[in-house]
Amino acid sequence: MSTLIDLILLTLMAITAIAALQLKDLFGAVMLTGIYSLLSALWFLILDAADVSFTEAAVGAGISTVLMLGTLALTQRNEKSPSHPRILPLFVVTITGAILVYGTLDMPAFADPQAPIHTHVAPHYIEKSGEEIGIPNIVTSVLASYRGYDTLGETTVIFTACIGVLLLLGIGRRREDDES
């Protein structure tokens, strides 16, 4: 049953993505990306990734949609040039996709318990994090403790991005400076 939901949600995601990219009206395209994010959040929940689903629902369907709409309000709402299919990009994309599909033939089947990803570090986290860290949510223990360096880096990236946006757009910066 959950495999069926998985297939349907993935197909819906693909359809929404196509619709979002071929739409001329950027407002509609942004709304469709919001729907796309919500669908992917649902899909994450089906595949047991509750934490990820949470974040994607708040970020994808909420904040990033609002930021894109803000950008459209400051720029323009419609895509100008007619989006005729381009031969060279289409060729590149098809070749790359075909090679990648060929590559997947050697990948472990979906939800294979013997896949390499399940045999290396993850069993240690699942078996030992209860004693070593003592909190039930394994995702939190890995995020904050086992891979604390990683998360420190991610937090710094957000800090840096925030500084970057402030430098580009500015809170309380002079508008005259922009003319140069």
Partner: protein, 158 residues
């Protein structure tokens, strides 16, 4: 947004719940799904909803920009500070075992503080980014927000 009574009232009802839920996700993240990243984005979403419905002028009175400017680096400093504290107490960087009298308690404390740092940075950072986008083109030369009364030719707020 002056006339959308339903939106305004529903938003007033929803915002405390969203913020409370964000705090729940923050501090219950050890036991259920949740943690600093999730709580931060939910908190920021609540503040952004407030700014969208009641306008940027009202929102920037509630959430002062200088407070956000302090909170964004503060979160990173809390995180790195926990690492330095564990160095001083004789462990490795970000090794929480030494923070308390026994390793498991130390881990609890460390994770709580670290998640708090992440939550503060994410919430303040995303709110700042939204304010930067929303305030663009609506400022006078001194950098203060242009209110509608002061500048009637300005576009109505969205």
């Amino acid at each position: 947004m002056k006339h959308h009574s339903i939106l305004r009232i529903i938003t007033k009802l929803l915002i405390p719940l969203i913020l409370l839920f964000a705090l729940y996700v923050q501090f219950h993240g050890d036991f259920g799904p949740g943690g600093g990243f999730q709580a931060g984005v939910i908190f920021a979403a609540g503040l952004i909803l407030y700014a969208l419905v009641f306008g940027l002028d009202t929102a920037s009175e509630v959430i002062k920009e200088w407070v956000l400017m302090i909170l964004v680096p503060l979160g990173v400093l809390i995180y790195a500070g926990v690492g330095v504290a564990s160095l001083i107490l004789g462990g490795n960087f970000l090794d929480y075992n030494v923070l308390a009298h026994d390793p498991v308690h130390g881990q609890h404390l460390g994770i709580l503080l670290v998640e708090l740092g992440v939550g503060v940075t994410v919430a303040a950072g995303l709110t700042t980014i939204f304010f930067a986008f929303a305030g663009r083109g609506r400022r006078n030369p001194e950098g203060a927000l242009i209110t509608k009364a002061a500048n009637p030719t300005q576009e109505p707020q969205r």
